[in-house]
Amino acid sequence: MHHEEVFTDRNVSESSAYYYVDIENYPTTGWDKFKQVVKRTFSGELFVGLWVVLREMIKFDIHTVQYPLEKLPIGPRYRAVHKLLRLWESGYERCIGCGLCEKICISDCIRMDTRIDENSRKEVTEYSINLGRCIFCGYCAEVCPELAIVHGQRYENASEQRAHFVIKDDMLTPLDMLKAGEQAEYPGFGAIIPGSDASVKKTPLAY
């Protein structure tokens, strides 16, 4: 029933639909005032108003979004609660534990812990974001060299407890979802520019 807004360019430019309203000067003499009153009384503007609202009622083009049941589509680049992505082929976590996100975070809300595992790979054991402090600036997503930490679309993060930080398990794409192909690349802040494959050059091996 409700109408979905198409995401378009909403920048206000000179060619956009804004225009100045033409307001006549107020009458000063008594006779002019009288003429204005008569004109306004018999111009039927009040009935235009009545018709406009009645027309909308008859058309019944309701724009209400019954929020918890229906949701508006959200922009793909929206910066909501974070996600940790996995590698498509192997299913390994993309995060290499470099700590750049922890370092750059301006509200200092990312905490992580790493260790070297049996295969001599660096493994991220703990990874948490204190959403109470996060300002959703997107720096972590931008700085991440592996496109591992990105923003998701989950914006309902009200909680009864301040301690409900987002921990690694909440953010990491579960393996079954990855296998079902449900992990989506993030087109927003820090993501690869479309068409960047073309600009990648082969590493010259002749060093």
Partner: protein, 329 residues
Amino acid sequence: MDVAFIIETIAKIVVILLIFSALAGLGTYFERKVLAFMQRRLGPMHVGPFGLLQVAADGIKLFTKEDIIPQNVVKPIFKIAPIITAATAFMASAAIPFWPQFTVFGYTVHPIVADINVGILYVLAIMAIGLYGPLLGGMASANKWSLISAARSAAIFISYEVITGLALLAPLMMVGSLSLIDINNYQAGGITHWIVWSQPVAFVLFWIAAFAETGRTPFHLVANDHEIIDGFGTEYSGMRWGMFFIGEYANMFFISFVISIVFLGGFGDGTIAGAIQLLLKVSFFFFFFLWTRAAWPDIRPDQLMWLCWKVLMPIAVLNVVGTGIVMMF
């Protein structure tokens, strides 16, 4: 005065009280729905099917809410003011015929509490007393917004009483009776006999004044939310506030009945069809109150006074004089 008469009258009073209290509640529901649809919203949706039980939810809320009497108010006056509004609204209904007389089990019922021969005068007088609700409530509230609202309501009600009275004078001169039943029977001959055709100016004037009497948009400045919060109702809570509300909505229904009966033929010849027509007319006028609220802006108090004394009152006087001259010759 026999017992049957007393019992019948009490029964009628109870029925009217119940029906119109319920209607006042339903009126708020319709108002929300109509306003919502006109603004492309859905209105109440969650309590009951299509939000119908919202009325019950609101009622429970109002009844169970704490009755706060603020510290600096003039307590006795503050307490009775809402009762004045609600009571006068219902008292005014005593002289209104809601339905043509009908017969059940050989007993003729007149659905009017008291067919007094000054019916319309009584209705107007009691509605005028209704002014004391907002006036006293606002003045006793120790709140500046309430005080402004009280001043406005006194000015508006008193000014527009003049319009109501003068507008009604012309039709009453033609009918020659103040009883609403007589006025109704005068127009019983069908749609061509309706007073609105012979008194269109009086009809429009009375209709405009009805907006001021009930304090509805565009004359809603007694409790204009964006200027003076809820006006005289600002300090009220719970059921006291609810009584102002019931009074306002009951008033809207009763004034709709009065307009329909005086100008649009009422229940006509007294058949069921006529009675249903009366209900349709009343529904239209009630709907119109909601309709204008969605469509029209509010006007300033000075504009309202200007409209009353410089435009409507001269027209009303001319209308009365004109009617008199026509009737003389």
